[in-house]
C-alpha cells in the first residue's frame, strides 16, 4: 500500500467537493459539498497518522484530529443549516446566488 493512494483519493474527493461548492446554487447542497471536503481532509489526517506511526513514534494523533474534525463538522453543519434556514425564512429561497448583499 502506498501512502499516495490514500492522498490521491483524498485529493480527488477534495476537488470534487470544491467543484460542488462552486457550482451548486442550493445552500443545502453547498453544505453537502463542504462535508465532502472535510472528509477528504480526514482521510489525509488518518493516512498521515498511520504513516507517522510507522516511524516509531507512538502516535494516534492523526486519528484524534480526525475525530476533532468530525466534531467541528457537526458544529459547522448545525450553524450552516441555521443560516440557510434563516435565509430561507427571510427570502423564501435558498439560492446562494440571491444572497448577493456583499455587492459593493
Amino acid at each position: 500500500m502506498l501512502l499516495n493512494q490514500y492522498l490521491l483519493l483524498a485529493a480527488a474527493l477534495f476537488c470534487i467537493g470544491v467543484y460542488g461548492v462552486l457550482t451548486r446554487k442550493n445552500g443545502v447542497m453547498v453544505l453537502m459539498s463542504i462535508e465532502l471536503i472535510l472528509n477528504a481532509v480526514n482521510i489525509n489526517m488518518v493516512a498521515f497518522g498511520v504513516h507517522n506511526a510507522e516511524a516509531g513514534a507512538a502516535s494516534v494523533g492523526g486519528a484524534v484530529f480526525a475525530l476533532f474534525i468530525i466534531a467541528v463538522a457537526a458544529a459547522e453543519v448545525g450553524v450552516g443549516l441555521a443560516i440557510v434556514l434563516l435565509i430561507y425564512r427571510n427570502r423564501r429561497s435558498i439560492n446562494v446566488a440571491d444572497a448577493s448583499l456583499m455587492k459593493g
Binding site: L22, L101, M102
Partner: protein, 827 residues
C-alpha cells in the same frame, strides 16, 4: 562589614513569618458568595422580585463578616509575632548584618535551592520565606540562579547604592516606630486549571524532561491573601453592603429591580475576584468583569439616550486602556519567564530577573490601563458621565470597586512599577506626574459644575490622582491608606447626594433645586458635612491623615526623608488640597445654605438610607486613626501609630521593594490645613457676600468673569472640560469617521472602481478603435475577434465586483491554487 552594608542587608532580607489560618486559605469564599447570589437572582429573581434585595444583602453581609474575621486573624497573628520576636529581633538582625556578604551567599543558595524550597508549600519556619507563587518550580528553573543574582549585584550598581541609602533612611525613619518589624508573607493558594504538555522536547525524551528544561505552561487560578487584599476585601464588602442597603429605598419600585440587584452582586463579586487574583490572567478577567458590570449599571436606565451613551463612553474609554493592560501583561508574561503568576513576576522584578527595559515598557503599558480605569488625566472623561447611573452605583464605583481597580493593580505589581519607572532616587517619573496633573486638573473642573454628582465625580478624579501620585513617589502605604479612607468619605458623600436627590425631585442640580436644606434635612446635612471635612483633609477626620501622609511621601518638604524629593509634586498636592476644600465649600453652600430654590418639601430620607449615611460618617471620622504618625501624641503614637502600615504593607524582601517611609512633619500638616481652611474661607466669604446682595442668586451677575477676559477664558476652558471630549469625539472620532472614511470610500470609488472601469472601457474602446479603423481595410475576422474578446474581458473585469459569493469563492480557490502551484514550482 562596611558601615553601609549592615542596614542594607538587614532591611533587604526583611524578616518574614508565614501566617497560617483556615481563613487565609479559603478567602475565595468571599467573592463566591456574591457570585452565588448573582446566579440565584438571575435564575429565580423573578419569582420574588420585590424581595430580591434580601439575597444580595445576605450574601454581601456574610462576605463582610468573613472578611472582618479574616482581617482580625491577620492582625492578631501579626501582633502575636511581634510580641514573640520583638525584643530579640534587633540583636538577631545585627548579627546577620555583621556577616556582611552572608546574605549574598544566601541569595545564591536561594537560587539553587529554589525548586526544593518552593515545592514543599507551607514552610512555616520563621526567618526568610521566599516568594511562593503558583508555578515557580518548572518555569523559573535556573532563572533566579547564581547568574541572575550575580548579574543583579554586578550590573545594577545603582540599585545597590540606592537601596543602601534607602535602607539607611528607612532604619532612621523607623526608629521612632519601635524598631524592626517582622512582616507577614502572603498566603498564596493555587489550583492548576490546566497545564500544557512539555512541547518541543517530548520526542525521544522519556523520563527526565523536566530536568532538561522541557517547558510546561501552567494555567493556575488562585488567591493571594496578604495585607493588601485583606484590606480591600473589607473595604469592598463594607461599602457594597451599605450600598445594597441604601438601594432598597433608593431604587424601590424600579422596573428593573431584579436586574439591578443581580448586577450589584456581580459587580461586588468581580471586584473581589480581581482583588484576590493570584495570576495576571485572573486579574485581567476580573478587570474586564468589573468593566462590564459598570457598563450595565451606568446604563441601568437605558431608555434615556444620554444614559446609554454614558455607559458606552465608559466602556469604550476603558477599552483604550485595556489594550495597554493586555500588552503590559503579555510583556510581563514573557519577561518573567512565561509565567502568569503575580508573585513570581514580583519576585523577578525585585531580584533582577526582569530586565530594566522590560519593566519600563510593561509599566508604561499598564499605566494606560490605570489611566483609563482609575480616571487619570486625559482618559478621565468617562468618569463624570458615569454619573448617569443610579447614585448608589456611583458610590460603589467611586468608593470601592471600579476606579480603585487601577490603583490596586499598581499596588499589586508594585515592584514592576518601582523598578520600571525608577521611583527610588529619580526626581521625575511619569506615574507621579500623571497623578499630580489629575489632582489639579480634576479639582479645577469641580468648581464649575452645577450637578452635585459631577462635583463629587471630579473630586474622585482628583483624589484618585492623589493615590496615583503617592504610588508614583513610592509612598505605597500612603496610597493604600488614602484608598481606604477615601472609600468611606466618598461613599458617604455620594450616598448623601443620593439622599438629596431622593428628596428634591430626583434632581442633582445644586443651583436650581437646592439651597437652604440644612434645617430641612439635618441628618443628611451632618453626614455630608463630616464627609466634606474628611475629603478636605481637616483635623481629625480621616482624609487629614491619609492626605498628610501622601504629602509627606513626596519628600518635597524639608525634613521628610522619603524615596525622592519631588518638590513640584508637593506643591501640586498642596494646590490640590486647597482646591478640594474650595469646591466642597462651594457645594456645601449651594446645597445647604442660602434660600431654598426648589419647589418641594424636602425631608430626611427613610431609615435604611439615613443609617447607611450615619455609619459611613462614623467611619469617615475615625478611619484615619489607624495610621497616625508614630512621633505624634507621645506614647500613644508609639504604641498605636502606623498600625495600617505595619498590618497591611507587604513584607518579605523579595516580592516587594524596600521602600522608605517619610517622616511626618507637623509643619507640613499645618501648612496643608492652612491651605484648605484659607481656600474654604475665601469661597465662603464669596458666597456670603453674594447672599447679602441677593438671597436667591447663585452667582454674581457682574463677577470677575464678566470683567476679566482671562478669567472668562479660563472659565470657558473649564466649562468645556479642557475640550477633551471635543478632542475625542470631534477630532479623533470625527477624523476617523469623516475624512478617513471618506478617503477610504474615495479610494474605493475612484481608484479601484476606476481601474476596473478603465480597464473595461479601454478594452472596449480599443476594440471599437480597432474595429472602426481596420475593419474598413482588409480581412477583419481576426480583428473582430480581438476586439470582441477584449470587450468581453472588459465585461468580465467589471463583473469582479458582482457581490456573488460563488464568484468570490471561485476567485479565492483559484488564486490559492495558483499560489500553491507557484510555491511548488519555485521551491
Amino acid at each position: 562589614m562596611s558601615l553601609m552594608s549592615t542596614p542594607l542587608f538587614a532591611a533587604a532580607a526583611a524578616e518574614t513569618f508565614q501566617p497560617a489560618s483556615w481563613l487565609f486559605d479559603n478567602v475565595w469564599i468571599v467573592p463566591a458568595l456574591p457570585a452565588l447570589s448573582f446566579a440565584l437572582i438571575l435564575l429565580f429573581g423573578k419569582n420574588f422580585a420585590k424581595h430580591v434585595h434580601i439575597l444580595g444583602i445576605a450574601a454581601v453581609a456574610t462576605g463582610l463578616l468573613f472578611s472582618t474575621v479574616t482581617a482580625f486573624a491577620w492582625i492578631t497573628q501579626y501582633e502575636d509575632e511581634q510580641s514573640h520576636h520583638g525584643p530579640a529581633e534587633e540583636d538577631h538582625s545585627e548579627e546577620e548584618g555583621a556577616g556582611g556578604f552572608v546574605t549574598i551567599a544566601n541569595a545564591d543558595e536561594e537560587g539553587d535551592g529554589h525548586a526544593e524550597e518552593e515545592s514543599d508549600g507551607h514552610d512555616d519556619s520563621g526567618g526568610e520565606i521566599a516568594a511562593r507563587g503558583c508555578n515557580v518550580e518548572e518555569n523559573n528553573h535556573g532563572r533566579f540562579g547564581p547568574e541572575a543574582a550575580s548579574q543583579f549585584i554586578g550590573e545594577d550598581e545603582y540599585a545597590l547604592t540606592d537601596a543602601s541609602e534607602i535602607a539607611a533612611t528607612a532604619e532612621e525613619g523607623e526608629e521612632g516606630g519601635g524598631g524592626e518589624h517582622i512582616k507577614p508573607a502572603a498566603v498564596v493558594n493555587c489550583l492548576d486549571w490546566f497545564e500544557t504538555g512539555s512541547f518541543g522536547s517530548d520526542i525521544g525524551a522519556s523520563g527526565d524532561e523536566a530536568a532538561q528544561g522541557g517547558r510546561t505552561l501552567k494555567f493556575s487560578i488562585g488567591t493571594i491573601a496578604d495585607g493588601q487584599s485583606i484590606m480591600m476585601l473589607f473595604v469592598v464588602t463594607f461599602i457594597s453592603l451599605l450600598v445594597h442597603v441604601f438601594s432598597t429605598e433608593y431604587v424601590k419600585g424600579d422596573r428593573r429591580y431584579v436586574h439591578y440587584y443581580a448586577f450589584l452582586s456581580l459587580f461586588t463579586a468581580s471586584m473581589l475576584f480581581m482583588v484576590l487574583s493570584a495570576t495576571t490572567l485572573q486579574l485581567i478577567v476580573g478587570w474586564e468583569l468589573v468593566g462590564v458590570c459598570s457598563f450595565a449599571l451606568i446604563g441601568h436606565w437605558w431608555e434615556d439616550q444620554d444614559n446609554s451613551n454614558a455607559a458606552l463612553k465608559a466602556f469604550l474609554t476603558n477599552r483604550v486602556g485595556d489594550i495597554g493592560l493586555l500588552i503590559g501583561m503579555i510583556v510581563l508574561f514573557f519577561g518573567a519567564g512565561q509565567t502568569f503568576d503575580i508573585m513570581t513576576i514580583n519576585h523577578a522584578a525585585v531580584t533582577g530577573g526582569l530586565s530594566q527595559t522590560t519593566m519600563t515598557v510593561a509599566s508604561l503599558c499598564l499605566l494606560t490601563a490605570v489611566m483609563s480605569k482609575s480616571g487619570q488625566f486625559i482618559l478621565h472623561t468617562w468618569l463624570p458621565d458615569a454619573m448617569a447611573g443610579p447614585t448608589p452605583v456611583s458610590a460603589l464605583i467611586h468608593a470601592a470597586t471600579m476606579v480603585v481597580a487601577g490603583i490596586y493593580m499598581v499596588g499589586r505589581l508594585y515592584p514592576v512599577f518601582w523598578n520600571g519607572l525608577m521611583i527610588p532616587g529619580s526626581s521625575f517619573n511619569i506615574l507621579a506626574f500623571v497623578g499630580a496633573l489629575t489632582v489639579v486638573g480634576g479639582g479645577a473642573l469641580a468648581f464649575v459644575q452645577r450637578d452635585i454628582k459631577k462635583v463629587l465625580a471630579y473630586s474622585t478624579v482628583s483624589q484618585l490622582g492623589y493615590m496615583v501620585l503617592a504610588l508614583g513617589v513610592g509612598a505605597w502605604t500612603a496610597a493604600m491608606f488614602h484608598l481606604f479612607t477615601h472609600a468611606f468619605f466618598k461613599a458617604c458623600l455620594f450616598l448623601g447626594a443620593g439622599a438629596l436627590s431622593h428628596a428634591c425631585h430626583h434632581s442633582f442640580d445644586m443651583k436650581d433645586e437646592m439651597g437652604g436644606l440644612r434645617k430641612k434635612m439635618p441628618i443628611t446635612y451632618a453626614t455630608f458635612l463630616i464627609g466634606t471635612f474628611a475629603l478636605a483633609g481637616l483635623f481629625p477626620f480621616a482624609g487629614f491623615w491619609s492626605k498628610d501622609e501622601i504629602l509627606v511621601g513626596t519628600g518635597g518638604f524639608p525634613g521628610t526623608d522619603a524615596n525622592g524629593t519631588y518638590t513640584l509634586l508637593l506643591i501640586m498636592g498642596l494646590i490640590g488640597a486647597a482646591m478640594t476644600a474650595g469646591y466642597m465649600t462651594r457645594a456645601i453652600w449651594l446645597i445647604f445654605f442660602g434660600e431654598y430654590r426648589g419647589h418641594d418639601h424636602p425631608h430626611d430620607p427613610p431609615r435604611a438610607m439615613s443609617w447607611s449615611l450615619i455609619i459611613l460618617a462614623v467611619f469617615a471620622t475615625f478611619a484615619g486613626f489607624l495610621n497616625i504618625p508614630a512621633d505624634w501624641f507621645g506614647p500613644i503614637g508609639e504604641r498605636y501609630g502606623l498600625k495600617f502600615e505595619q498590618w497591611f504593607e507587604p513584607g518579605g524582601g523579595d516580592v516587594f521593594p524596600v521602600i522608605s517611609h517619610g517622616d511626618s512633619n507637623l509643619l507640613l500638616a499645618i501648612l496643608a490645613t492652612l491651605a484648605a481652611v484659607g481656600s474654604a474661607y475665601v469661597v465662603w466669604t464669596y458666597y456670603q457676600r453674594l447672599y447679602a446682595k441677593n438671597p436667591a442668586a447663585t452667582e454674581y451677575s457682574d463677577g470677575i468673569r464678566t470683567k476679566n477676559s482671562f478669567a472668562s477664558a479660563g472659565y470657558t476652558l473649564l466649562e468645556n472640560k479642557y475640550y477633551l471630549d471635543h478632542l475625542y469625539t470631534g477630532i479623533i472620532t470625527g477624523f476617523t469617521k469623516g475624512p478617513l472614511a471618506r478617503a477610504a470610500y474615495w479610494v474605493n470609488q475612484n481608484v479601484i472602481d476606476e481601474v476596473i472601469d478603465t480597464a473595461g472601457r479601454t478594452a472596449t474602446s480599443a476594440g471599437r478603435f480597432v474595429y472602426k479603423f481596420i475593419d474598413q481595410g482588409t480581412i477583419d475576422g481576426a480583428v473582430n475577434l480581438s476586439g470582441n474578446s477584449s470587450s468581453d474581458a472588459g465585461q468580465v473585469l467589471r463583473r469582479l465586483q458582482s457581490g456573488s459569493i460563488r464568484q468570490y469563492a471561485s476567485l479565492m480557490f483559484g488564486a490559492a491554487t495558483v499560489l500553491a502551484a507557484v510555491f511548488i514550482v519555485a521551491v
